[in-house]
Symmetry: C2
Subunit: 589 residues, 2 copies
């Protein structure tokens, strides 16, 4: 061992002890002939001191940033203590120093906030990973993974590994595929999730399964999506929705407590998908603050304002204490909602001025009483600002939801250290695609309808099918979906019905899901499960919105790892062995 | 919840309790008008009883094997108790029964020993997984995984996930590759191990890393190899070989204790690679029994037996109590060693008969005293059989090693419930390939030479380089290598030297390992690590030789998953999106 202690370990009580430390030179400075060195490792920073007349004074003075050194010396009490550091009461008076490895000057500073841009830090990810925020992020991830496993192990869940080389089932997102050399002309696929395998494990009687598992999706990458991501994947037999929600409420509360020391009250709130859409314009509402959406169609339609009259839906939110927004601010907000990312046609406002008067951009169509009625509906009080959007119902609610989040952000209502989890339940089972003229499964084709909607599910009418609620649930935290799942179809007939509804032919279903349809014939138990996006769980627990710092080696928005320069060309012999040729022609330079 | 208790839970103390159970019908039988049903789940089997006059008698009588049912009833004391079952003192007198799912008749019996062949069980893996031996195997695997993580977490290791979509580095075995749609003409590779990433994590200062991680190797599959397999992958900074061995001796002892209740004495033995080859003819010796190999060249050469005289090496083993082997048995053994799998030219024997006489197949070349000297060298005593092979040294030792294992097996010396771990150390760093006329790294190109052999490592002479020992170690249990690792090169100059020695050009090294060579310039700490083959760890802990039962969904020897029928063809549109075309032509039928 190159050390007797870590750089985070020594305290005043160790004074007088002879120690050996090893680590990286965080910085070094000369002061009155003495050299002070901050030695860093994962565990902390310890100050080293070399006196002017020491035989190692010259060596100490010539150390560069990020040199790896091993030192010997005695722990002494510091003259000027640093209360901010756990080791701040001591320093090591060095008697020996050995350079274990030199270091070239890093291309950016290895500190809390680096001076390096995103690209250079990505290229030198191994240096960026030395920075304290990333070390903390990965330490949190480690802690959460251990606590998840401990909780689930204690609850009788078995961790069972499912294969990564599986079969392409082009329902949903695109698969990454892997050519098979031993079976020429054929491909494996990388799993988008272990969905079918975990259901087979229930058929096999494993009763409670979990896995922290990598999943793969070849999507055009939106911001903050990764081609490979990690799921906490779980499944249980002989359960109903209530059992799943209770179990994973327990898991989440345990993770908050063990990893963050945060107590989440039992009885995490539940909200129906319809309520979430109506009140928050989102299936993942941020309930850390109010400002909920109110339909005001019946208060404002038929009063001569043609824009509202022509709209399916008119909705509004009350913004606390913002009646004093200036014309300029309101114009800016109007431009903001008209951006293509939001897509509203315009924005109507109602100010409830401090003097009791009401001022609105639609004054000429509505009396102050009518406007006050709108404000009352929204729960607005004197000093508040009411913002109104109109259009098709779900679309407008969505726009109001986005506006709500933006204002929540601007008003500082979205404290990342506050945690407001909830369950969304009672999703529609099916989504109609006008474009493809078919239904898609809102979750996936193995999700069961709610027991009370089974008759509707077997109806031939589109409008009946649209009403069917799924036995499904999402776990939402602070406006992000962290997980989702459902009670599965465990009956072969019902599964066939689902494929029929989704327009998947018997042949296609057989080719893609034949083994699971078949498995269900041999005694499938009632079962259900859930999967959490572990990258996002870590980020949100860490109080961050983006997942990239919570993944040791993430890929960029083009799916590239710029550190290892991947993906890259492979040798011709590899292509030949795989019986593949590329049809791609490089664009002219 | 569909149940109040599991099928393994109820005891005599529960008599009188009203319970609800759910599970699978293991079997049902009628006896004097009553129906007895064995209800099974992961936790055990509980006997149900339905009386002849019960309103559910008819329903109970019509249940098939593997039906999934839910039952209500009262726990009662059994008339005829079954001491072999934890629930054997009670049965449930049913008042209600509901069929949750019917089951087609399984294609083989779901019992301890199935009547199904390997192929049919592979196709219906989800049914085979219901059998007790597989349930036990996966339960052991789960337990071991949790104990590994708990141990390493307590030792300050951080679990850090490394990417699966990485870069092809065709040193060693073949990579599986993954075409990138977003970066046409290029490929990711699936990792053969997270080797470079874990070393980068050490450069990043994470100090102690671990991961239970999937790895991929596109090899022509020998028996009991899988294209995807799982490793316990670990790395530590500021350590020497002694620290790594001590840490992982601790991990292994903890796994034995926690998962099996087996105490392994501290101080797991260590053996040099040279000793292992000389004494056991193997770099993974089974030390549960003796029968070690002895070189007898100097005792038998120059006595006129030209076969020995012409051989580089003559070696022998003493087989306990087998002097009475018949001519037929010895002929069979001779044929056995001459099979191509062993490859010996012939077999010489010396019998130390009970009457004190010596009988050998080479009597005419050697006096009884000379033969006794050979026997003495082997530690043979009256009643033993000495077996002799000759030829090139390492090859002959290997053949003697294989013969030794075979005889150990035949003589019942290889008890799978006995555990004899050891460390193999002091491996050669390099292996010369006559075929390619170059050196290969015996472990991998990041393994450091032993500090005392550094000067040899920089020598230009082949014979010097062959003498260099690696700072490497293998963990061996009962004749299987369970893990291996090394102290790594942490110095950029030494790494370049290694690439030179291996004949990897600067350009190739830069293209394949540029990022890690570069990383080492920024302050790499001394570090080393180890990886264990988790599938094999599980199998050996379970007392089995083959890993397949310890993997939930294994592939067959052609790399196929016959349950999901993978790999398979993919859609033309998928091929087009990936800019790929197949050059494979199906052979004519």
């Amino acid at each position: 061992m190159y050390r007797t202690h870590t750089c985070g370990q020594l305290r005043l009580s160790d004074a007088g002890t002879k120690v050996t430390l090893a680590g990286w030179v965080q910085k070094s400075r000369k002061l009155g002939g003495m050299t002070f060195i901050d030695l860093r490792d994962r565990y902390g920073i310890t100050q080293l001191v070399v006196e002017a007349d020491s035989p190692i004074a010259e060596a100490a003075a010539s150390l560069g940033r990020e040199y790896v050194i091993q030192v010997e010396g005695e722990v002494i009490e510091r003259a000027s203590k640093n209360a901010k550091m756990p080791t701040g009461e001591v320093e090591i008076k060095l008697s020996g120093l050995k350079v274990l490895n030199k270091a070239a000057t890093p291309p950016f500073t290895i500190e809390e906030e680096s001076d390096g841009g995103e690209d250079i830090r990505a290229k030198y990810r191994y240096l960026d990973l030395r920075r304290p925020p990333l070390q903390k992020a990965l330490a949190l991830r480690h802690r959460l993974a251990q606590e998840v496993r401990t909780f689930l192990d204690n609850e009788g869940f078995m961790e069972i590994e499912t294969p990564y080389l599986i079969k392409s089932t082009p329902e949903g997102a695109r698969d990454f595929v892997v050519p098979s050399r031993m079976n020429p002309g054929t491909f494996y696929a990388l799993p988008q999730s272990p969905q079918t395998f975990k259901q087979l494990l229930m058929v096999s009687g494993y009763d409670r399964y979990f896995q922290i598992v990598r999943c793969f999706r070849d999507e055009d990458l939106r911001a903050d999506r990764q081609p490979e991501f990690t799921q906490i994947d779980c499944e249980m037999s002989f359960v109903e929705q209530e059992d799943v929600l209770n179990t994973f409420e327990g898991m989440m509360r345990s993770m908050f407590k063990k990893a963050l020391g945060v107590e989440i009250a039992p009885g995490i709130p539940r909200m129906s998908w319809y309520d979430a859409m109506d009140k928050y314009g989102s299936d993942k509402p941020d309930i850390r603050f109010g400002m909920t959406i109110n339909e005001i169609s019946d208060l404002v339609k038929g009063c001569g304002f043609s824009v509202f009259d022509a709209s399916e839906y008119v909705g509004a939110i009350a913004v606390d204490g913002c009646a004093e927004y200036t014309r300029k601010q309101l114009d800016e907000l109007t431009e903001w909602v008209k951006r293509p990312q939001v897509g509203a046609k315009g924005l109507v406002y109602i100010k409830l001025n401090a003097d009791g008067s009401v001022k609105s951009s639609v004054d000429k169509f509505y009396s102050p009483e009518q406007l006050k009625a709108v404000a009352d509906k929204c729960g607005a009080k004197t000093g508040d600002l009411v913002l109104v959007l109109c259009g098709p119902k779900r679309k407008t609610q969505g726009q109001l939801g986005v506006l709500r989040l933006e204002l929540g952000q601007r008003l500082g209502l979205r404290n990342p250290q506050e945690f407001a989890p909830l369950w969304i339940v009672d999703f529609p089972l099916l989504e109609w695609s006008e474009e493809d003229s078919r239904f898609y499964a809102m979750h996936h084709p193995f999700t069961a309808p709610k027991p009370e909607h089974e008759a509707l599910f077997y109806s031939d009418k589109k409008e009946d099918l649209e009403k069917v609620c799924a036995n499904a649930y999402d776990f939402v935290l602070n406006g992000s979906e962290l997980g989702g799942g459902s009670i599965r179809i465990h009956n072969a007939d019902m599964q066939s019905r689902m494929f029929d509804v989704l327009g998947i032919s018997k042949e296609d279903a057989e080719a893609k899901f034949g083994f699971i349809i078949n498995a269900f014939k041999f005694g499938a138990p009632p079962h259900g499960g859930i999967a959490f996006g572990f990258d996002r769980v870590c980020a949100l627990f860490g109080g961050q919105e983006t997942i990239r710092d919570y993944i040791a080696f993430p890929k960029n928005n083009q799916g590239r790892d710029v550190m290892i320069d991947s993906p890259s060309k492979i040798d011709d012999t590899q292509m030949e062995e795989l019986f593949l040729s590329s049809t791609y022609t490089e664009p002219c330079a």
